[in-house]
Symmetry: C2
Subunit: 344 residues, 2 copies
């Protein structure tokens, strides 16, 4: 590399970037079982493992206050942080909330954010135990760090997928992206019209997808079902960067390949309707849209049957293969698409 | 409160604000021993306690990239986060780093930040175990969450000060503020001159205070000395918001008052020289300047003697009193000043 060359962040994949950044992390603790590279960090503890995860959301990049109510924002960032704990098959205990607060925010606006985090705390059973408040120019920033735990026998890494395992996904995918498309369209419409004093779009027809975008739900209930049924996935990751990207992350961590079927992608009718209305390809929403906070996990066949007897809200979309086979999708029309690892 | 009234963040004290925000934190865990209100959160664990702390720094508010080298920035935010762990008499284990990164930052600039955090990891013996990278408009934001531990018998809260205890402070105070004044002056000078291509102030004469501002050191060594001498302070807080403010925080948590002596304030000659040059009152730096990351702690008299036999880098500045006496300072000239609780 030439000296003084300006390498943009975008020029590296996320993993490559993190590898470069971690060159300076020379201190290693014996109790750290897993640092970077999974949904949460994992620390050794007497009888169980401690989990740490962290999520940052910046105004103008991760959210737009024009259409995101503040309590939904609080709820969503908390969902993102606890989802990383669930993705290790663990349970959250406590969160730290860091806010960078611009002058345009009032006390009661901040309270709305905390109201949302508090509501998430009730749903996910975590406590807000601390954090930091600092000033910011113009834009609001939120980070939430989540602290959780998991029994040693239950922990589920991204790296455990075995050849032949079924690849499963909970719920449906692409909905959060559909919701974002609607919200952006309404914002544009409102900016062009400027007739109304306040932004009051009519979103009744889009309630499902808008909720998927604004108030996503982390998969606590699914983790509880796994526990009840005594099923431990061989690997698991939460869907935040989009299905293709997260399948790549899981496959890479496991040193495996993935073969999946376009026809099986679980897409809700509401999501399809939005894509039709936008004249867009709904499979793009499903394959590349992020923020669904569903779980992608792998199971041996016998456990798929066991799970499906008690739980119907998941879909088998493919199978774990040899690493050499890469990430491939059989299209509905019969062709096979290969996804290059965009991160490599 | 009238509906729709815009209450600015500044209109409330920090404590009052946190109390209002925590109204919605209805989920409480039995293992949470201490949430908000001390330097770190404290969680029950089998034989020892887990500590969690978190610090956020925003460009333009907490740091200015004109004169803050990126590796120093990484080191300083890490110092701030581990200092909160030391202030509980604990030791850090791991940190999570959240960065909000604007386009103006290159990969190698990010690496400088991580280099600083990694250097802090070596000094303070923590590992970087995870975090989040997100995009940001224009301004850089950093939050570091620190995870540590402390033996149950050693934990030191802000709340344990007893009437008659000596109030002590490590090192010297006001230096970080003096350094900031110098850096701001040099920046202004540079902006007015604009003759140079790059910013190269001559700071040799101000090395000590500039270091206090740019690369403050958390008091790991002091915590180790306490352990070696088998001394546990009755209360402790790290100096981040300024001496008066942090004394108020400690006194309030302990339900006590404080009487201290202006003449005893530990101020370095370098700090005094800067104040003279700026034609400012050096005691203002000492009383209200923050970010020194020294420890303020309380000890019974016998332990003051024991400590001073082995350790000289601390000063007794006053005594713990009844709560009714408030926070008072005896001036060098003999008068007594009362500080109103700016947070109440």
């Amino acid at each position: 590399m030439a000296d003084n060359e300006f390498r943009t962040i975008q020029s590296l994949g996320r993993r490559e970037l993190i590898n470069e950044l971690m060159e300076h992390n020379e201190t290693q603790h014996k109790e750290t079982i897993k640092g970077w590279g999974d949904d949460s960090a994992v620390l050794e503890n007497s009888d169980h493992l401690k989990l740490l995860s962290s999520e940052s959301f910046m105004e103008g990049v991760d959210f737009d206050l024009t259409y995101v109510p503040l309590h939904h924002l609080g709820y969503k960032v908390a969902t993102a942080a606890v989802s990383d704990i669930y993705a290790m098959n663990g349970t959250p205990d406590a969160v730290l909330v860091n806010l960078s607060v611009p002058n345009k925010m009032s006390v009661d606006m901040l309270k709305q954010i905390y109201k949302g985090i508090g509501a998430a705390g009730k749903d996910y059973d975590f406590e807000i135990v601390g954090g930091d408040l600092s000033a910011s120019h113009q834009l609001l920033g939120i980070s939430i760090s989540c602290y959780g735990n998991v029994d040693k026998e239950l922990i589920t890494y991204r790296s455990g997928a075995r050849i032949g395992d079924a690849i499963c996904v909970t719920g449906d995918v692409g909905g959060a992206t559909a919701g974002l498309r609607i919200l952006m369209r309404e914002k544009k419409f409102w900016e062009e019209e400027k007739q109304q004093q306040s932004f009051q779009p009519n979103l009744d027809d889009y309630e499902y997808v808008v909720k998927r975008q604004l108030v996503p739900i982390a998969r606590k209930s699914f983790i509880e079902i796994l526990r009840d049924l005594d099923i431990i996935p061989t690997s698991m990751i939460d869907l935040t960067q989009g299905l293709v990207n997260d399948l790549q992350n899981l496959a890479e961590a496991s040193g495996k390949g993935v073969y999946f079927y376009q026809a099986t992608l679980p897409i809700s009718l509401d999501t399809r309707n939005v894509a039709d209305e936008m004249k867009e390809d709904v499979d793009k929403y499903a394959l590349y849209g992020g923020e669904d906070y569903e779980m992608v996990f792998t199971l041996p066949e016998e456990n798929v049957e066991k799970l499906s007897e008690e739980f119907s809200d998941f879909t088998v979309i493919g199978q774990v293969k040899n690493q050499e086979e890469g990430i491939r999708m059989q299209q509905a029309e019969g062709g096979v698409v290969s996804f290059n690892d965009s991160e490599g």
